[in-house]
Amino acid sequence: MVKKFHGVAALMAGSLFTLTLSGSTAAAPHPATHQSRVTITFWNEMTGPYEVALNRVMAAFGKHYPNVHIVDVVVPNDATLEPKLLASIVGGNPPTISQLNPSWAAEFVKTGSLVDLTPFIRSKAGFSLKPFYQNLLAAGQFNGQQYALPFNVSAAVMYYNVTQFKRAGIKSPPTTWAQFEADARKLSTGGRHAFAITLVHPYPFRAFVVQAGGSFVLPNGKPNPAIFTPTGAATRAVALWANMVKNGSAVLTQGYGSQTDFANGTSSILEGTSAFYPYLAQAVGKRFPIGVAPLPGDVVNGSASFGGYLGIFSKATPAQKTAAEEFVKFLTSRVGQTIWMQDSEGYLPVRSDVLSVPSAKKFLATHPAQRVALSVFARSPMSPKVAWWPDFSTDLINDVTAVLDKKMTPAQAMHTAYQEALTVYANSPGR
């Protein structure tokens, strides 16, 4: 399914680029005063409980800006938001603001579809970027300018079944890959696999590559060959998982099957973002205490961040643009991010100054997943902000899956992955 949607996205991205080159231009602006009523559309993936949390943040914004009417359009996930956005851009009627991935933003910037936020940020009405986590800001920067700002971001952590750890005689969660492998073996008894692997998204694997000291992309935007060599970071990460699958201490699950396995006690360790926590807590109930710890490290004690950014589309009228900039400023402000972190109960603030807010301190004391994720947040890069990443990530997932299914060796799979990376890089629009 992921492959199918990425195929769709690639096709549509091609159309977007072609149409933009052929002269699709912005609509005539309709100036409006700041006092007049302005309607802006905001496309986002904040479904279910997150929609409730977002509504609270929007209500807080509405108190300060009663003249701005926000049309909140919710879609379920990336796989549906991406084609919807691409179709609307090609059709010349994108939303005013949308949640987006940095890799999509790369494409939108090239086609002139996104507004450069830098002039607004530097203006009198703007704000300082200093409190933001710099690794998150970097993913929204293109050509040295800030086009997208992080909003709903979480980082991968390790959830573990405290009862099963105690029963296996493990006193504390593993902190290194070697301990991780050894503990997983102890926990894998009676046909149980301690570590249930999920590959719905590439971030669980990306986190291990980060720990191995690797980065998928070179500063010039090309695939990084070093991590795909037989001793490279990606190869070592997949080899770790492959060995664990081979010795029976890990298993690859389909979809979000790892959450199910963890909740029913079939597995003991789950890699997931802090945003998993509300769902896990509900699914596990009182059957066992859920422990949360940073993922075991290797060369680096880091992780992978995962989530959405905010971008404003250049088709917006000047009045809409002004209102949208104020809205983005509020959503990413200290106040906005404090409300968002507390009400979403899974996402992390994208700026460190939230941590000094008294209510945030109190909140984090009782929310271990967010607290632990924040401890590694600064060392948890977002997915690469290159246009070829979405297509490549599908190939990468397939290659890692092939290793775990024992159809390829880690070295073969990562060699194949590098060739695929070169191909998608060569074919990426406007590279």
């Binding site: 479904t47 049309v71 879609v75 549906t80 090609v90 059709g91 010349g92 959450q259 945003a275 509900q282």
Partner: protein, 272 residues
């Protein structure tokens, strides 16, 4: 068949029936379970029959509105598709073989083009017509259906030539032949096409999601995804409850039309 053979056949049929019903039972059972027990065995398979999930799921969105949208668009799409496919199929049977062959091949080709590859052109057409965020955008693009034409053509071709000859001798026009002879004789196929198109419309997801922007005109499948799934996890008990009450109309429809579907499939020579 011997008695033993019959018993074996029935055992096999019961096993297949249980295998078919199991996922449906699981969905209903999970919908009646508390969240934490839904992940235990045999918790979800024999629930503690709590109705809370239904109440919570029902309160999550304007379901009656979604149902009305889906039903209305399903009926409209079905009506349009029946008319267009019946007339096309009839025309293809009446036309000289060569012309009909070329046109039929062209219609079959439309079945082979992946929908995803025409999303952008379709979107641009719908946008230029001013149909974004309307019912028309979700009905008109599906008002003609290649598979429906194929199915009806096979049925019409299967009618005895003597019927056509007798009608010609009686001086009946092709139009009256269609309504008074063809239609009554292909009712099972028409029922199958109706169910097929209605289900396509009822289950439509990506296209409605792309061309709509709010619950006013969105169908039930989009509502289901928007309200109850997230990028980080899913409350399976609530989602199962919502899936259960959104599946019920389709299950009832299928049960009512089951005989026609089986008959039409057996007569067209389609094998599952």
């Amino acid at each position: 068949m011997t008695k033993t053979g019959k018993v074996l056949v029935y055992i096999l049929l019961v096993a297949v029936l249980l295998g078919t019903l199991f996922p449906i039972w699981w969905m209903f059972a999970t919908s009646l379970e508390s969240p934490s027990r839904a992940f235990t065995f045999p918790g979800a398979l024999w629930p503690n029959f709590t109705g809370q999930n239904y109440l919570t799921a029902w309160a999550a969105g304007p379901w009656l509105h979604y149902f009305a949208n889906s039903a209305g668009m399903g009926i409209a799409t079905t009506a349009f598709a029946l008319i267009t496919s019946l007339l096309s199929a009839y025309g293809l049977v009446l036309l000289p073989n060569r012309v009909a062959g070329i046109l039929f091949a062209a219609i079959l080709v439309t079945m082979m083009v992946p929908f995803y590859s025409i999303i952008i052109p379709d979107y641009l057409i719908v946008k230029d017509l001013g149909w974004l965020n309307t019912y028309a955008a979700q009905v008109i693009p599906f008002a003609a259906n290649g598979f429906a034409v194929f199915l009806l053509r096979q049925f019409i071709r299967g009618l005895p030539k003597e019927l056509w000859d007798a009608a010609r001798i009686d001086g009946i026009t092709p139009w009256r032949y269609l309504w008074h002879v063809v239609v009554p004789n292909i009712k099972p196929a028409l029922a199958t096409v109706s169910i097929y198109v209605f289900l396509l419309s009822w289950n439509a997801f990506l296209w409605p999601l792309i061309v709509t922007s709010g619950p006013q005109v969105q169908p039930v499948q989009v509502g289901l995804a928007n309200l109850l799934s997230t990028a980080n996890g899913t409350d399976w008990t609530e989602l199962s409850a919502a899936a259960a009450f959104t599946a019920v109309p389709v299950l009832i429809l299928y049960a009512l039309a089951q005989r026609s579907i089986v008959e039409s499939v057996s007569r067209t020579g389609i094998k599952g």
